[in-house]
Amino acid sequence: MSAQKNLAEKHCAISGLGQSDVGRRLGRDPLELTLDACYAAIADAGLTPADINGLATYPGGMAVPKGFTGAGAYEVLDAMRLEVDWYDSGVETSGQLGSVMKACMAVAAGMADHVLCFRSVWEGSAQGSGGRSSLGPGGGGGGRGGRGGKIYAGDFQQWMLPFGSAGAPIWVALFAQAHMDRYGTTPEQLAQIALNGRRNAEVNPKAIYRDPMSLEDYFNSRMITTPLRLFDCDVPCDGATAFVVSRRELAEDLAKPPVYIEAMGSAIHDRPSWDQLRDITRTVGTDAAAQMWGRTSLTPADVDMAQIYDGFSYLTMLWLEALQLCEVGGSGPFVEGGTRIARDGALPLNTAGGQLSGGRLHGYGFLHEACVQLRGEGAERQVPNKPEVAAVAAGGGNTCGCFLVTSVG
C-alpha cells in the first residue's frame, strides 16, 4: 500500500464552499455568477480575498463551445484583484475535478496555502431556446465550416461526425448498449438513476427539474439514441461552484469544519478515446478509482454516500462499478427498485439531484454536495445518520477523476 508515500491530499482540506444562483437560463453575466460563487466560498471559509494565494479552474477560458466556461483563470484573478503564488487552468486533465487535484498538489508542494477552485457554466443561456449543441460537445468541433452545406471535421471528430456520431450521448449509448448486452442490464434498472435524481431534486431548492417523475414519465420521454432517452441526459444550466482548498492545519482553525480529502484518483491507463478502449463495457474511471483506493486504508464498504457524475445516466452505472461500490457488471441489480440509492438507503446517491435534474454544473456540483452533506448542511435533503465518508466522481469517458472525502480527519 501507499502509507509510506507523501500523499498530497493528506496535506489539504476543503475549507470553504460557494455556489451562485443556479437556473436553466438565468440570462446573467457569467462572470457575475462565477464571482458570486468565488466570493461565497472565501467568506464561507472565514477568509478574505487577500488570504487566497492560489487559483485553479476547469477548463479555463474557451470561446467554444459557447457557454462551456463562464470565466477563465485570468479573468477571475483580475476581477478579484487576487495576488497568487500559483495558478492553473486547463481542459486536458482528469475530469472537471482534476483542477481540484492540482490545487491539492500545489498546497502539498508548498506553492500555496489557500487555493480558490471554481467551475462556471452558462450553457443554458448560451443555447437559447434551441437544443443542445450538436457539434463539438465538451471540447470543440475540431473542424471548419465549408461552403454549400459542408462541414469539414478535423482532429478526433473526423472519426465521428461523418457518421452522425455527433456527440457524447451517442458515444455513451454505444457503451451502454454493449454493457446491457453483456450483463443483461435493463431499461427499468437504468431508469432508477434518473428517478432517484428527480426525487432528490424535489427537495433541493436550487435544482432545475423539481416536479415528481414516475417510471411511466421516464419511459414516455423521447428516445434520443438507444438506449438513452431524454431523461438519461443532463440538463444544461447556468451556475458556478467554488471551493477553497487549504493547507490542512490552517483549515482546522477556520470558520467551518474542514472536509478532509482522504484520497484522490487521476489515472488513465487505457487510451483517451471513445472507441479504441480495451473493454467498451468498462469505459469510465476504472484506473482512477483503483488508484484512489490504493491511497487510503478505507475500503468501498466504508462509503456512506456517493455523488457520482451523471452527464448521462449510464455513466453513473459504470462509475458505481469502477468505484467498486458494486460488482463489475452488477450496477443494474444494485440500483434496481431505487431503495438502496435513496437518501435513506444503504448508499444515498446524488442527493442534490445530480446533473440530470439538478443541472449540469459539470463535476463540481458532486463535490459540493458531498461537502454539504458531510457538514450536515443538507437541510430537507440531508442524509440521515451523519455520513462521514463520501465517494465523489466526475467525468465521463475515461478522462475523469475521483475523490474520497470525509468529515473526520
Binding site: A153, A173, T225
Partner: protein, 145 residues
C-alpha cells in the same frame, strides 16, 4: 421533423496523415497505417509505432470484415439532413483485437441487429473539390459471402 431545408454533409478534413484511410475506398479497400516491423495497425494513425517506436509505416488494406461491438439507433437530428433514424455502430476489425471504427450499420433491418454479428465494409463516395472521400460503412455479412 422540423422544417429544415438545409442538408449538411460532413466530410473528414484530408491531411497527409489520414488520406490513405479516407481515400482507400476508391479501390474498394479499407486501409490502415501498419507498422512494417511489428505488424501493428495504428488507428488513428500516428507517425511512430507505439509498440516498437518504428517509423517504418505504410498503408495496408485489410479484409474489410469486422464484428459489431455495439450500436445505437439514433433518433435525434444532430446534423441537418441526416435521415432518421440511423444506426451508429462500433465495429471491431477482424485483423486486430481492439481495432475499432465508429461507423454506420447499413442495409440491416433494426430488428436484425445483434452485437457480435459479422459485418463487412461498404463505401459511400462523397465528392469534394478538395479531394473525394469514401466513408467506410458496414453491412451484415450475407450468407455464403
Amino acid at each position: 421533423m422540423t422544417e429544415q431545408s438545409t442538408t449538411i454533409v460532413v466530410l473528414p478534413e484530408l491531411t497527409d496523415r489520414n488520406r490513405h484511410f479516407w481515400q482507400g475506398g476508391e479501390n474498394g479497400q479499407l486501409v490502415f497505417m501498419r507498422c512494417q516491423d511489428c505488424g501493428y495497425y495504428l488507428h488513428p494513425p500516428v507517425p511512430i509505432c507505439p509498440k516498437d517506436q518504428s517509423k517504418n509505416l505504410a498503408p495496408e488494406a485489410v479484409s474489410g470484415r469486422a464484428n459489431l461491438a455495439s450500436y445505437s439507433v439514433n433518433h435525434h437530428q444532430w446534423i441537418p439532413g441526416f435521415e432518421l433514424p440511423y444506426v451508429v455502430a462500433l465495429v471491431e476489425i477482424v485483423e486486430q483485437a481492439g481495432l475499432r471504427l465508429t461507423t454506420n450499420l447499413v442495409n440491416c433491418p433494426l430488428e436484425d441487429i445483434r452485437i457480435g454479428m459479422p459485418v463487412r465494409v461498404v463505401f459511400r463516395h462523397l465528392e469534394d473539390p478538395g479531394g473525394d472521400v469514401w466513408l467506410p460503412l458496414f453491412e451484415p455479412e450475407g450468407d455464403g459471402q
